[in-house]
């Protein structure tokens, strides 16, 4: 910054500017360090798996909207659930078979996101159909199915968490009754 045209004044001005810039940079560094230390705690409280949580709802809706032929007519899984609710004996087998088939098709492999593990995981899906949503969050399924990877054995707890509800949907079955359908996602080491 040239503030004086005389040579003597110019040297003083440069010195002043130099010290001011130096102090300014030091102040910025000090506050950067302070705020970095403060934000360390914040970074630990970050919600993870946002993308997975958002995708779970799409997965559940896709499952419920999957077309299926019932009694020679096309409907969707939500429609089949309604038919099963009205006539359980007639439609239970078809609902189970179709649902498990869809859930198996939805399974996919991916790298274990936990550092240092380096293995592959299989993402599996679980569906439960409940008569109502309980206030305590507990599930009391009328019917449940899961994809083949999670039929039995150990599942890995990941960002969705085993046993946590990833997505939920109310499916109408009559004018005064709906069913509460829940999807969970699970990971299993390959």
């Amino acid at each position: 910054m040239i503030i004086n045209k005389s040579r003597k004044g110019a040297i003083t001005s440069i010195l002043v500017d130099f010290w001011m810039y130096l102090v300014f940079v030091l102040v910025v560094i000090v506050f950067y360090l302070i705020f970095s230390a403060m934000s360390k705690d914040v970074a630990d409280k970050q919600i993870t798996g946002l993308e997975t949580k958002a995708k779970a709802y799409t997965n559940l809706l896709n499952y419920l909207k999957t077309p299926v032929i019932v009694d020679g007519k096309e409907t969707d899984i939500a429609g089949l659930i309604r038919l099963w609710h009205n006539e359980p004996d007639k439609y239970k087998e078809l609902l189970e078979k179709t649902s498990i088939g869809i859930l198996n098709d939805m399974e996919y492999d991916y790298d274990n996101p936990i550092k240092g593990t380096g293995n592959r995981l299989v993402r599996g899906f679980y569906i439960s159909i409940n008569s109502e949503k309980k206030e305590n969050g507990g599930l009391y399924p009328l019917l449940e199915f899961q994809s083949k990877c999670c039929e039995s054995g150990f599942t890995v707890r990941d960002e969705s968490g085993v046993g946590l509800i990833a997505a939920e949907q109310f499916v109408p079955v009559s004018e005064d009754k709906y069913l509460y359908v829940v999807m969970m996602e699970r990971a299993k080491a390959k």
Partner: protein, 376 residues
Amino acid sequence: MKSKKGAFPFNIMVVVALTALLIYAWIQLDSKYNGTFERYLGEKQYDLIKTYQKGEQVLFYIDQSAKYSLEQSVYDLAKSGGISEIEVSDAETFAGHECGKFNDAYVWYQIGKQGDAYAPKNCFDENSAKDNLGYLFNNNLNKYLLSYPIDIPTNNYRYEFKNNLEIIGLAALPININIFKKEVPEDFSTATRDVKPKPLDIKQLDKDTTKPSEGFRDFTGTDLCAKGSQCVLKEDAFQQLVKAQDAAVKKGISIEVYSAYRSSERQQALWNGDTPERYAQRYPDPAVRVKYVCNPAGREIKCPHLSGDVVDIRLKGKTTGTMSSADWNSLYSIMTSADSNNQPLWVKYSNEPWHFECCNTPRYARAIQQGVTSIV
């Protein structure tokens, strides 16, 4: 700045000011979060995603419900021979199907005797079948929507019929889902509305209400308003209603409004057939239509619901269909209880046990003048 003498203190001042500013920011942030951040990073974004998902959930439910409602409506309409009666009318004279029923079936064609001659009468216009279907469809859809855990406005769609059985519903009111409002009850808890009698929580109103205009009170979504209904009253009428609810609580019951203030635009839309009831399409003759719906332009005294001093009301947990005569009597006794001036809170319109008026309506004034609590 032209002199070097001024440059030095200026730069010092800049640094001091900046340092002070940063220290102030630090203190503010530190005091705001009490040294630690309680909220999770991404929490607001997650709330937004969840809200979007709730919207998608509701839309899926409505889509499915509409599909089933249409199937049911086609069945119902076929069973009733293409005719559907409007069960509840806001007009002063309720009228059913003009030729009535024979052996529980609506009459299509009637031959009456006039003197020595026989006069045939065609009672069914085939062109009205589509509108009758729309009416039944709307009623069935309302039942589905009312059973959903959160409030979805009922009678909220304007239907367009395309091709044969394609119905497009255009919503008039949006579905409200709270974002970031943790203090407002979660939608699922409000869904299981408490039938247990309790005085109205005024705090609930302070949080959730908006005034359509000065002097009006919107209590939609509260315990005093039926699920799926829009409830707006003038402030005075609302206070009378709260008193009536207090009287109901003393008797161990609770009341709920399912129709209140109607704007003149809404009433005009009802008359013009721009609502799910499709009055104009089903009753093109205004002389017949006026038996079902109040004509806002055709009266010296305006339609009662336009005043903001009128309610259609029932006991909580009941429908107009399930209200017994004992229930209607209880409701009448509660609504007409005396206030501190020994005047009835509300007066009943004699032809409709659910219709009560108060405050500044001509009917209320006439009732007070005559010293009665039920009046035509």
